[in-house]
Amino acid sequence: MSIEHLEQWSDAQLAEVEEEPYYLPIGDEVTIFDTAYREQLPVMLKGPTGVGKTRFVRAMAHRLGRPLITVACHDDLTASDLLGRFLIKDNETVWMDGPLTYAVRTGAICYLDEIVEARKDTTVVIHPLTDDRRRLRLEKTGEVLAAPPEFQLIISYNPGYQSLMKNLKPSTRQRFVAIDFDFPPPDEELEIICHESGVDRETAQLLVRLGEMIRNLSDSGLDEPASTRLLVYAAKLIRSGISPRRACELAIAAPITDDATVQEAVSDVVTTIFAE
């Protein structure tokens, strides 16, 4: 069943989180998540890209021992993509559950990543799931599914991302418990970089400092400043023998902007922190 689904859902993946993912709690987010899960409240993770939202979800799924279904939302994602549709097979029609329906049926954790990317009419289908009814209505089959207590809906949302055209509707956002994610404090970020990349602490310390400096430019023409993920990428490149300057160019300066001036300034900052 699940393999079949994997093949059918182009935007989603299903996984039992078997190995414990590394996640370093920054605040009380784990407690809050536990409470929300117990109280059957849907959760919204807010924050910039690359600060550990997805990792957090994986860690929580592992903690709860539930399968995790992740849907990467995009602007062509329709309600049928989430709920399911009839397919034509050998001259007959077969109903195929979408990832959300499957998650409700099996009591999995469903994670809708970057929900703002989905079309507004699509996000509305999650509404009945997110209030105390916790029901999912499949119009085409006439079914009404009641979500079991194990089911949990999580969405992620990046408030700084893109334009206000893609903002989440208030009627949608007000159905969630929001957990804020931001760049981790320096000490924690240092731990994360060391753990994820295996780089020495001295280099990790310099990367943290670099990240802080580049983040100062977030209101000067930089869409999204250097995330923890990018710092980890740079650390991994350094760890595998690429010179720190080159690694930071490849993993940080070039990916975060196309603007020549900003890129030059970021490169200057890199050369301030790392020697040849």
Binding site: S220, G221, A275
Partner: protein, 631 residues
């Protein structure tokens, strides 16, 4: 680790100062400004700006908010080196401030003890070099290079005399990649035979100082040196080490004169370099009870503002100056506007004389500087505005359209076979949206815009932030077809409302307009009613689907002749109601922390924005416009 990097250093000699017959390569600050501004912002935690100043030709300096660097660098025969010099000297100044060596209690007062100050400059400079190399190891090779370059230039000039020069040169000879060993110090001291002994002692003491992570020791040692070495001959005063520049304790002091002081004292301390902008006082006074312009101290708990909370129930007695119509003389050449008298609940016809003027267009240096310092941001804003361009979008699953929607067709076939009623929405079509917007941006140019942010003269004046905001908006709008005008307003009394046309709808955003933006400066009072009425009048002459009036303000409506308090608020509110009735959307951005007392009443909830962080006004203006006009 640092040592390894040093080994990789290219051991070439530093560039020699250009010989007169050699072509001198010069790099202007303007060429590096946009990158350097971002660089300094990044490494200083957004605390510092960078600007050029001719006074910095002898060495960069800072006042704690801005780093002043030379307008051009021509001592290298290579632009790359010159660019590096700009970067290193700026980074050095950032570190000098961040490391605490410029904390006022640390810097000796040169007027009290000049020797101690000079020693402190040298010793703390050496200390900052090492701190910088430790914290920002990437710059270590550059600092090393600059030290050698400085030393080469100094020894070439043959200065080895005086008390200070030998100390500077021998310190520059010490290695930077590790704490100097006693042997190394002895060897360096021997290069100055005539002062070997005392120099050795000084260097040894300095070596101890350099081992400490905290700059406090610099001051102690400077005190010892100055006490032990006596007066310094002014003729042997050494030049600044080029990449370190100078310490300017006079600029580091928090401002002594605040605007409040001037008000009570009216005599700015003579010789002060910093004066608050002159405030134009109205000449004609036809009221016996003038309402003073408000001055703010944003740091005080109340924001320093006179509290004028409007109680909508209170009724002020009618004032006599509300009864005399304008004379023919006063009406001449003016646009006449009515005014709402809330006390009598009636319009006073032809009550305001508003005169339009086109400010003289002159130099565009301020605008050019804004463009240079914010190239990246402006490009970013333009990109964001480009997203507002009407785009051709193919709408799927439509009842009718120019093409069959294959996905919809397949779904409907499947539904039909499953025995469901299939959807009829099987077509797709192209949807073209049109913007057709006219915007009038109305700027409050009252005297209070001359105030410095947080009343600290080292910060920008409010008017500078407003100028920046207007430039950003006009730059961003160049990618759209939205018609827009920029107006400023000020004035004193109803007889002299002044309406400056910075950019009219049909004018293009070019040198003339930029020159006018350049010249925007603080005026007198804030009589909002007539200015809004005139801007709305101009807006309604534009044929557009959507008309928007955006007001940029720093305070409540206020004029000299009783147009304050509730009266001004009521007339402004009425003017805005008239605007909405004639189909103009209104929105206000204000930096007045007390705006919540009156803005909801004037503009309505959701139609204004209070910006607590004044410098953010510059980008908010464009952001708000973008948000208002997203389709």
């Amino acid at each position: 680790m640092i040592r390894d990097w040093f080994r990789k250093l290219n051991p070439t000699r530093p560039k020699k100062p250009a010989e007169p017959e050699q072509p001198v390569t010069s790099l202007a600050f303007a060429d590096v400004e946009s990158t350097l501004a971002l660089y300094v912002k990044a490494i200083s935690d957004s605390r510092l700006k960078v600007m050029s100043n001719t006074l910095a030709r002898q060495g960069a300096y800072t006042d704690g908010r801005t780093i002043f660097v030379p307008p051009e660098v021509d001592m290298f025969d290579d632009k790359k080196q010159a660019r590096l010099f700009y970067r290193v000297t700026s980074a050095w100044k950032v570190m000098q401030l961040a490391s605490g060596t410029l904390d006022l209690e640390r810097v000796p007062d040169p007027n009290e003890d000049r020797e101690q100050f000079l020693y402190y400059e040298i010793l703390s400079g050496e200390w900052v070099d090492r701190t910088l190399v430790n914290l920002w190891p990437g710059l270590a090779p550059n600092i090393e290079l600059m030290r050698r370059d400085a030393l080469a230039r100094r020894s070439q000039n043959g200065h080895r005399t005086g008390n200070l020069e030998p100390l500077i040169q021998s310190l520059l000879r010490l290695p930077i990649d590790h704490q100097p060993e006693t042997d190394e110090i002895r060897r360096v001291a021997e290069e100055f035979p005539q002062k070997n002994g005392e120099l050795r002692d000084m260097l040894l003491a300095t070596g101890d100082m350099l081992r400490i992570d905290e700059p406090g020791q610099c001051l102690k040692l400077a005190f010892e040196f100055s006490a032990g070495n006596g007066k310094i001959d002014e003729s042997t005063l050494p030049q600044a080490v080029h990449f370190r520049g100078r310490i300017r304790p006079d600029l580091l002091k928090p401002p002594e004169i605040t605007i409040e002081d001037i008000k009570t004292d009216d005599k700015p301390a003579s010789g002060s370099r910093r004066r608050p902008p002159p405030r134009s006082e109205p000449l004609l006074v036809d009221s016996n009870e003038p309402m003073p312009m408000q001055r703010r101290n944003r740091k005080s708990p109340t924001g320093g503002r006179q509290s004028m909370q409007i109680s909508l129930a209170d009724r002020e007695p009618a004032r006599t100056f509300h009864t005399v119509p304008l004379t023919e003389e006063e009406k001449k050449g003016a646009h006449l506007y009515h005014e709402w008298d809330y006390l009598r609940e009636m319009y006073l016809p032809e009550w305001n004389a508003l005169r339009t003027r086109r400010p003289k267009s002159g130099s565009t240096d301020k605008v050019d500087q804004i463009l240079r310092q914010h190239t990246a941001l402006i490009r970013h804003l333009k990109q964001q505005f480009e997203a507002l361009r009407p785009e051709r979008m193919r709408l799927t699953r439509q009842l009718d359209g120019d093409e069959l929607d294959l996905g919809a067709y397949v779904d409907s076939q499947a539904d039909q076979m499953a025995g469901l009623s299939p959807s009829e929405k099987l077509y797709s079509k192209v949807d073209e949206k049109e913007r057709n917007i006219a915007l009038a941006c109305l700027i409050d140019l009252s005297g209070s815009t001359g105030a410095w942010i947080d009343d600290d003269p080292r910060n920008d004046q409010v008017i500078e932030v407003i100028r920046r905001g207007v430039v950003f908006l006009c730059e961003a709008l160049t990618v759209l077809d939205d018609r827009h005008a920029v107006y400023g307003f000020t004035g004193s009394t109803r007889k002299q409302s002044e309406f400056s046309i910075v950019k009219e709808f049909d004018e293009s955003y070019g040198e003339t307009v930029k020159g006018r933006m350049n010249g925007l400066g603080p005026g007198a009072y804030t009589r909002m009613g007539p200015a809004i009425r005139h801007a709305v009048h101009n807006l309604t002459m534009q044929s557009a689907r959507v008309r928007i009036l955006m007001l940029l303000s720093d305070g409540r409506p206020n004029d000299f002749d009783g147009y304050g308090g509730r009266y001004g608020v009521e007339d402004t509110r009425k003017a805005l109601i008239e605007a909405r009735q004639s189909g103009v959307n209104t929105f206000a951005l204000t930096i007045d922390g007390e705006a919540r007392d009156y803005m909801p009443y004037m503009f309505g909830l959701g139609h204004y924005m209070v910006i607590e962080d004044t410098p953010a006004l510059a980008t908010r203006l464009s952001e708000v416009y973008r948000r208002l006009t997203v389709q």
